[in-house]
């Protein structure tokens, strides 16, 4: 199953040694690797590469052991060096893709899986991983194209079914069959509830969504982004404290998930927990420095801290990228007022008023008589 691939993946490159003078050392490194002594193996591979920097198998295996040690970035670097030395070792692309997937670098993962599949078009698991990556960044139609054909070979993979269901949901396709299919085998029941919860969330049925997601949580608390979805439901219902609890739980699992950081900043700011909000907004901005909405939250936090000069700069920056957002103009108007910039303040309030009126006018053609 696809989760097995993610957990115990990674080809081990046991090629015949090419350089007689380091063969013994290479064999020793492979032995250490096979014994699970990854740190020692890594040291050996690095020693070999000091002597023979173009020893491609050592480079590739170094990538494997670094990945096992959780040093994902270093592992990717090792793989890329190996691929530069020997582009024909296309298997390496699968490992590279998996690592990028693990660290949520989905565009890079897609690129790697594409390259792998170009050489190995019948590799089901790689295609599934490509589909999963496409779902993660919202390329839902492309994801469906990749995932649907793999169902014949692996009909009961919860991850694949769940991701396919998610892609269906986002493209307004019926998800009930997928939910039922997931519910038909024990390993899929939790994901079935999770997908059902998301389907309810998409229909703004937040209370029902929470009930489904909590059921999923009861069955498998480790499901990816489960707490995130719960947090979103609570947020939509204005239950900020429950929302914070859920997002904090998601954060513990995925501290580098941008959207989780965003909502943690948003809700802490709304609840007046300014220090916590600042902590999360800083982390979110470190990941996506140009995110307009995150910059806006930063502005609100700074305003609450009394740092109106910096707050104004932040909101001005957000407005520069999103000049038609009435809410941002209103926030900036309030900040200018605090700064005593009366004319600027009135200008922003007037702009907020004008934009609101335009928005209401735009909605007037949407009702059928």
């Amino acid at each position: 199953m696809i989760w097995m691939v993610l957990i115990s993946f990674l080809f081990l490159f046991i090629f015949p040694p090419q350089q007689v003078d380091v063969s013994a050392q290479f064999s020793q490194a492979v032995a250490l690797q096979q014994q699970g002594k990854f740190q020692e193996a890594a040291t050996e591979y690095k020693n070999i590469l000091t002597r023979k920097p173009d020893y491609v198998e050592a480079q590739a295996n170094l990538g494997v052991v670094l990945a096992r040690l959780g040093k994902n970035e270093e592992a990717i670097s090792a793989y890329e060096t190996a691929l530069n030395l020997a582009p024909q070792l296309t298997q390496i692309w699968l490992n590279v893709g998996i690592l990028h997937y693990r660290v949520s670098q989905f565009e890079k993962a897609i690129n790697a899986f594409d390259k792998f599949l170009a050489a190995h078009p019948n590799h089901i698991q790689a295609r599934q991983l490509l589909g999963l990556s496409l779902v993660e960044i919202g390329y839902n139609t492309a994801a469906i194209e990749q995932l649907e054909p793999t169902l014949t070979a692996a009909p009961n993979d919860p991850a694949v079914l769940y991701s396919l269901g998610l892609a269906y949901l986002r493209t307004n396709k019926p998800t009930q069959n997928i939910i039922e299919q997931l519910n038909s085998f024990p390993a899929g029941v939790a994901s079935s509830h999770q997908l059902a919860g998301l389907a309810k969330l998409a229909k703004f049925e937040f209370e029902s969504a929470i009930a489904e997601l909590k059921q999923a949580q009861k069955l498998n608390p480790e499901l990816l982004r489960l707490n995130y979805s719960l947090g979103l439901c609570f947020y939509k219902l204005g239950l900020n404290k429950d929302g914070l609890e859920a997002f904090e739980a998601e954060y513990l699992r995925s501290p580098k998930d941008f959207t989780t950081l965003y909502y943690l900043a948003l809700l802490h700011e709304a609840e007046g927990n300014i220090e916590a909000a600042k902590k999360y907004v800083d982390q979110a901005l470190a990941m996506q420095p140009t995110s307009i909405e995150t910059i806006t939250i930063l502005g609100k936090i700074l305003a609450r801290q009394g740092n109106n000069r910096e707050a104004a700069l932040a909101i001005e920056k957000a407005i520069a990228q999103d000049p038609k957002d009435s809410m941002k103009h209103y926030l900036l108007g309030k900040i200018y007022r605090e700064l005593g910039r009366r004319e600027d303040s009135n200008r922003e309030f007037n702009e907020a008023r004008r934009l609101k009126a335009e928005e209401a006018k735009t909605d007037r053609d949407k009702i059928i008589k």
């Binding site: 309810k200 229909k203 703004f204 049925e205 937040f206 209370e207 029902s208 929470i210 009930a211 939509k236 219902l237 204005g238 239950l239 900020n240 404290k241 709304a270 609840e271 007046g272 009435s326 809410m327 941002k328 103009h329 209103y330 926030l331 108007g333 309030k334 007022r337 303040s345 009135n346 309030f349 007037n350 907020a352 008023r353 609101k356 009126a357 209401a360 006018k361 909605d363 007037r364 053609d365 949407k366 009702i367 059928i368 008589k369």
Partner: protein, 551 residues
């Protein structure tokens, strides 16, 4: 005694002193002889069927006892078939806890497809008149002083034929005559009704529901200037309050929000930004809702605003503003700051979170337990019957929200401990406040859109603290003293109130200002700033009385 014991005893004594008093609300509508039923459609397929339900507490026969007026609803189907409209009700207070229905006899039973009600002695003759907003022509009923009213709408020239909702009276030019502001809602045409449940603005959480207001054209508001001779002039455009954006007006209030002695206007708009019109002292107004901080919530989002109430909840001498809102939005408490602008304190005051599932309507900041601090009640009820049971916790009929003021800028929601009547699920709309049983605490009449009203009798408020009811009568100012501002001082603490004609959601509350005094038996000083600017002071006033002060 050990120190710890002393501290513990002290702690308990402080808590006991501040514990919620035993005050409950009991629904005595039926027992009082109020058998009124509001008739609306079951499915509420059209927005016009969801918005009515005004109520008034006023003394139409000048016998010193508060009477009750309740508007009735109607349905699109009945209107299209020209079926008779269900009558409004006027309940005369008999003074023994009982009421007698006299609407037909009084000539106010059939105002049309009614929405709200507002009361004012517009001709200063000493008898309160009645203005009923309708979908269709509004009605002005002149009180003839003999227990009956006369429809003077045509003569007065105030029969706006649009979909009117809120109405409030205020003397904006300080000429001693009450002028009238009417908010209109949507441009709704019975010949071309919006198709139920079709389109993105006619669904709610995936359910097909009535359309609007968002997406429907607005109807524009109106300001009538009182000419002092029984007629009015439409000065809307000249005054600059015509609602150019076509927003969806509901609750309206005249209040002096810039403390300059001239009445300004606040309009709670549904699903669009609220209006705050500042009086320019020359017969014109300037809309400053955004700059004042009351147009939108703290994030800049417009809300589905319904009812409005004004009061100084934190006793800082400045009048704050509370607006009841649609579900999935919190009710908004705007706190007035030192610079005169308002800030959304909903979260800080702990009133926001509890309100999220509710659609709020009639509301008031009032002192239920006579402790001198304003508490808060919100009457709730959804607009979509389709949501009942559609998802966990989804309720069409909803309980009320009742907040006790904790005297530190925050509130505690205590409906569950304040009588079963507040926890009963109803489809509430308008609500009016007044001491109908003359016992020194405030009672509430709530009109429901789908059935019988509730008369919520306050039981125990008068035992929890002393009180004063203040009735003002203008002579040079308008007779109802609308716009008068009263500051009452006991020791170091002051309370500030204004006299309003138009309150809550499409309703009218008792003119008499109610002040809770806690344990104080004497009021040190009462300062009255009359609508014409004159200031008058009274000192050393005994508690527990109804005091009439004539300008």
């Amino acid at each position: 005694m050990k120190l710890n014991s002393v501290l513990l005893a002290l702690l308990f004594s402080i808590q006991a002193a501040f514990a919620a008093p035993t005050v409950t609300f009991t629904d005595v509508a039926k027992a009082s002889g109020i058998n009124f039923e509001n008739h609306s459609s079951k499915e509420k397929r059209y927005i016009v069927e969801s918005m009515g339900g005004g109520a008034a507490f006023f003394d139409f026969d000048n016998d010193g006892k508060l009477d009750i007026y309740l508007v009735n609803s109607y349905t699109v189907e009945d209107a299209q078939k020209h079926n008779p409209q269900p009558p409004a009700a006027l309940y005369r207070n008999l003074g023994n806890g009982k009421f007698e229905e006299v609407a037909a006899k009084a000539g106010v039973a059939n105002p049309g497809w009614a929405m709200g009600v507002s009361v004012a002695d517009y001709d200063n003759d000493g008898w309160d008149d009645l203005y009923v907003t309708c979908f269709g022509a509004n009605k002005l009923y002149h009180n003839k002083g003999n227990g009956t009213f006369e429809d003077v709408t045509a003569k007065a020239g105030v029969g706006d034929k649009r979909f009117s909702t809120g109405a409030a009276w205020g003397d904006y030019d300080r000429d001693g005559w009450l002028d009238l502001y009417v908010s209109n809602y949507v441009d709704f045409n019975l010949e071309a009704v919006p198709e139920f449940g079709k389109g993105e603005l006619c669904t709610f959480r995936g359910l097909q529901v009535q359309c609007g207001p968002r997406g429907l054209p607005g109807a524009g508001d109106v300001l009538y200037h009182n000419n002092g001779d029984g007629t009015f002039t439409d000065v809307t455009k000249k005054a600059g309050v015509e609602d150019k954006n076509g927003y969806y007006g509901l609750g309206v209030k005249w209040t002096d929000f810039d403390d300059d002695g001239w009445l300004d206007i606040f309009v709670a708009n549904d699903a669009t930004p609220n209006y705050a019109y500042r009086n320019n002292h020359d017969g014109t107004f300037t809309e400053i809702g955004f700059a004042l901080g009351v147009a939108v919530d703290e994030n800049g989002a417009e809300q589905g605003c319904m009812g409005v109430t004004i009061g100084d909840y934190d006793r800082d001498g400045k009048l704050d503003l509370f607006v009841s809102n649609f579900a999935d939005q919190y009710n908004t408490l705007y706190h007035k700051g030192k610079d005169g602008s308002f800030t959304d304190f909903s979260t800080a005051s702990k009133t926001a979170n509890a309100s999220m599932p509710f659609v709020g309507w009639g509301t008031r900041l009032f002192d239920y337990d006579n402790d001198g601090w304003l508490d808060l009640l919100v009457a709730n009820g959804h607009v979509y019957p389709q949501i009942e049971g559609a998802f966990p916790g989804a309720q069409y009929a909803q309980r009320k929200l009742f907040y006790r003021n904790l005297r530190n800028g925050t509130f505690e929601e205590i409906a569950a401990n304040s009588g079963a009547a507040l926890m009963q699920r109803r489809v509430s709309r308008g609500a009016a406040w007044g001491d109908y049983d003359e016992d020194g605490d405030l009672d509430v009449i709530v009109n429901e859109i789908d059935g019988a009203p509730s008369l919520l009798r306050n039981d125990g408020g008068n035992q929890a603290g002393n009180w004063l009811l203040l009735k003002l009568q203008g002579t040079k100012s308008n007779r109802n003293a609308v716009g008068a501002r009263v500051t009452l001082k006991v020791g170091d603490l002051a309370q500030v109130q204004e006299v309003y004609a138009g309150d809550s959601y499409l309703s009218h509350s008792d003119w008499r200002l109610h002040f809770g005094l806690g344990s104080a038996k004497i009021v040190d000083e009462i300062e009255i700033k009359w609508p014409n600017g004159k200031v008058e002071k009274k000192t050393k006033i005994a508690a527990n009385q109804i005091l009439k002060i004539i300008e």
